[in-house]
Amino acid sequence: MNAGGVAFAACATVAALALIGAPRADQASAWPVRFVDVSSDAGLTQPITYGDPARKRFIIETNGCGVAMIDLDDDGWVDLVTLNGTQLEPAARRDRAWPSGQAPRIRVYRNERGRFVDATASSGLDRIGWASSVCAGDMDGDGRVDLFITYFGRNVLYRNLGQGRFADVTAKAGLDAGRDRWGSGCSLLDVDRDGDLDLFVANYLSLDLATAPEPGQGANCTWKGLPVNCGPKGLATDTNLLYRNNGDGTFTDVSAASGVSRVTGRYSMTAAAADLDGDGWIDIYVATDSTAAILYRNNHDGTFTDVALPSGAAYNDLGSPQAGMGVALGDVDADGALDILKTHFADDIPALYRNRGRGLFEDIATQAGLAVQNRFVEWGAGLPDLDNDGWMDVFYVTGNVYPEIEAKLPQYPHRSPRIVFRNTGGGHFVDVTASSGPGVTTPQSSRGAAFGDIDGDGDVDVLVMNMNAPPSLLRNDARSGHHWVTVRLEGTRSNRQGIGATVLVTSGGRTQARAVLSQTSYYSVDDLRPSFGLGDATVADRVEVRWPSGGVDVVNAVAADRVVTIRERAP
């Protein structure tokens, strides 16, 4: 880097610190986590394209896309996938026609023992367009992780052929909807305990580019008095989809019969599927923009009922709808039940729904200490234990959707820092953003984020999608001295990766819960092997797996600092 570059970088860091305030000395000294962006060294230098960088004319340019940190080749190292978007022709209402070889592609980076190799060219992930989200899992029972990717347009199922190659099997699988929709979140889940993965697909809204209003041309087309792209309010909502896996590589649309499409009037976004009420069946939680969130309760007969409102997970603590974007599941108070973190728009705070048991949730975001950050639009989120102290922390990425407004409203910058809250115990959080290293404080306009351990050192790293910029690969250089255990599941009666399973790790008298999720954060996929911090303990006293098949396996006295594989026992 030349001298000018150094000066610019220094200025950017100072500006970022000014945005988020200086850390308190007592917090900074005690927090061992420091993130460094190693994307350039890792070869993640290709920008992710998503609309016009300077001005978002239509809402399709604003939402960005997801990323994934998953072991695609089953070699024990998490590979990286970054989705991509496209652009509109200048002053037109059609997608840009890219010169040959220049279209933005979904990129795959193969992890070779901590070193990354760009494996995009031979991947077969060839669709160009407005990709939204990715969900991952073995959809055809061959043991390999397949990818389902949603689009503004037509969704795609990529079958993993092995050796880093994928094939588009959408039509063959019966998943071509036959018309363009705006696919948003998706999740794989075993709805009916038959051992294969069914598919839930969320749709954001109905948008016809040919007739969509221009910025400023309507009541829902201004923000703080400035003309901006219109929506989502004022645009028509759409319904969600559920496809049943027929067990032969094909799927049947059961959206109506299952009750999934009965839920209307929502702008659905990220979808996460796990057993949220502890009845052993997989439910679906959907973050929804500007409307009540959806909690599809699994009725054990192939149907679902939206119980978000009576469960307490639809609105914030005062019963107001929020602009839901991302979702993370974890156990912030280590009571063995899955809590929900949901991210929102600027001038709002995340919701943190504590699981009270019996399917009831309570938004404790304010009392948990999360209300001190509300200036930025919040997107991809996770509940990783960043310092492995046995308490799950909060990490979310941010970025405004109106790049053109920061010139007039500097308090709403287009690029903003990642936000980190340290769990000081029991689900009480302290903002440690400013002391979490340059990978966190350097501002970006980010969307998707995925969490996993790229270098096998036991701490959680983060892959982040940045709008019209290369992705960030944030390496966690924590010096905590704490221990950890990562759990790799191998389903037999259940799907191979154990997607949908809940894993409970007991150590030091506390039990933490995590779920294996085919989608989480914002439109993204975390490492399918859940990781747990153990603090000073060198042994996890008990690891319990509640499989999506309904079976339960327990392994006692698991040594720390390793990946342990738990294979589902035969009935």
């Binding site: 400023g216 041309q217 309507g218 009541a219 087309c221 201004t222 703080k224 008095g225 003309p227 409307t291 009540a292 409102l309 009576p310 307490g312 609105y315 603590d317 005062l318 019963g319 107001s320 709808p321 001038d347 705070i349 009270r356 009831l360 309570e362 304010t366 009392q367 209300a371 001190v372 950050q373 509300n374 200036r375 007039k408 409203l409 308090q411």
Partner: protein, 344 residues
């Protein structure tokens, strides 16, 4: 809708010639065919009677070349919430109407309002200013202009318009506070902060300035600042129930439940008819695991404010937690209904 009626009346009062003082068959004294007059009067009556769609049906049957027909069509479109079409029609018809005629003023006035309601504030201002030139002291015109100027971030012009609206000197700290209050309503917190800081710099005892700065701090999640500002306001006026309520809100968010209860109780003693403190007391007692007291507070809130979604929602959650599922369901349904209504 009501604003337009008021403005029409104001324009009529302030204008040198009025619609009622004119022959129905003239535009600024120029004769036009009289056969249209009864039909136009009927359509106008429909618009004034809140039936713009029917008026539009009737107007389509009339001579579209007649400027009176097109003007009334634009007005009816505005009333029918088809503002973009209204703007299009009025922009075309306005130049052809005689200067200083009541018809032209009406076109400009409705054009200004349509642009304002469409969020095209900068374009709306010239037409609203033309209306104000005719009725300079009209409260509604000044209020609308004040908001338009806030939206275009012209604080000085907004302050001048709003000072007139609220009857305070334009260079007073009261004008700053009133303008800041409107800025907060329009989510322009940084502009409001500048107004309030300016007011306090000139007079540290400016009423409501600390309260509103506390409100901004609360909105931003700056809870320590919210507590300090609320206390500063209470130091100036210990009988300010809203400042006590805001202090209780901030303290409750900080998990200082006992201190919050004191502040909220004081707020209620000062003004027992506002539902807000009852709701927060309900939350505070829920957190203290005193469900009976919490339920009493929430039911009291609902008694004073039956349409308060938060009160119904919190009561539903409390009942759910107490295992009173049917009662909870009832309250959730009310909260949901109120939520949906708010979205309409």
């Amino acid at each position: 809708m009501r604003l337009l009626a008021i403005l029409c009346a104001a324009l009529a009062m302030g204008a040198p010639s009025t619609r009622t003082g004119q022959s129905p068959d003239t535009v600024q004294g120029k004769a036009v065919p009289g056969s249209l007059a009864p039909a136009l009067a009927a359509a106008r009556a429909l618009v004034d009677g809140g039936r713009p769609a029917e008026a539009l049906d009737q107007l389509t049957a009339l001579d579209q070349a007649d400027p009176r027909v097109r003007l009334l069509t634009g007005v009816a479109l505005y009333h029918a919430d088809r503002r973009r079409e209204a703007i299009d029609v009025l922009e075309r018809v306005r130049p052809g109407l005689p200067a200083d005629s009541i018809e032209r003023r009406e076109a400009e006035q409705v054009l200004g309002l349509s642009l304002y309601l469409e969020g095209r504030f900068a374009e709306a201002i010239p037409w609203l200013e033309r209306t104000r030139a005719v009725v300079p002291d009209n409260l509604e015109v000044n209020f609308t202009l004040g908001q338009a100027y806030i939206q275009t971030r012209d604080a000085a012009a907004a302050r001048a318009a709003l000072a007139k609206t609220f009857g305070v000197p334009p260079d007073s700290t009261a004008a700053n506070v009133v303008t800041a209050q409107l800025m907060i309503r329009l989510q322009m917190e940084s502009l409001a902060e500048a107004e309030l800081t300016s007011a306090l710099a000139r007079d540290p005892r400016t009423p409501r300035a600390n309260y509103l700065l506390g409100q901004i701090a609360l909105f931003r999640g700056q809870l320590d600042a919210a507590v300090e500002r609320s206390k500063s306001e209470l130091a100036l006026n210990p009988s300010d129930a809203m400042a006590a309520y805001q202090l209780g809100d901030a303290l409750l968010r900080q998990n200082h439940g006992d201190e919050a209860i004191v502040a909220l109780q004081r707020s209620l003693w000062l003004n027992p008819f506002y539902s807000g403190p009852y709701i927060l007391l309900g939350r505070a007692y829920m957190k203290k695991d005193q469900p009976a007291t919490a339920e009493g507070m929430l039911r009291q809130a609902i008694e004073y404010d039956p349409n308060n979604r938060a009160a119904h929602y919190l009561l539903a959650q409390l009942l759910q937690q107490l295992g009173r599922a049917e009662e909870a369901k009832e309250q959730f349904a009310i909260a949901e209904k109120l939520s949906t209504r708010g979205d309409e």
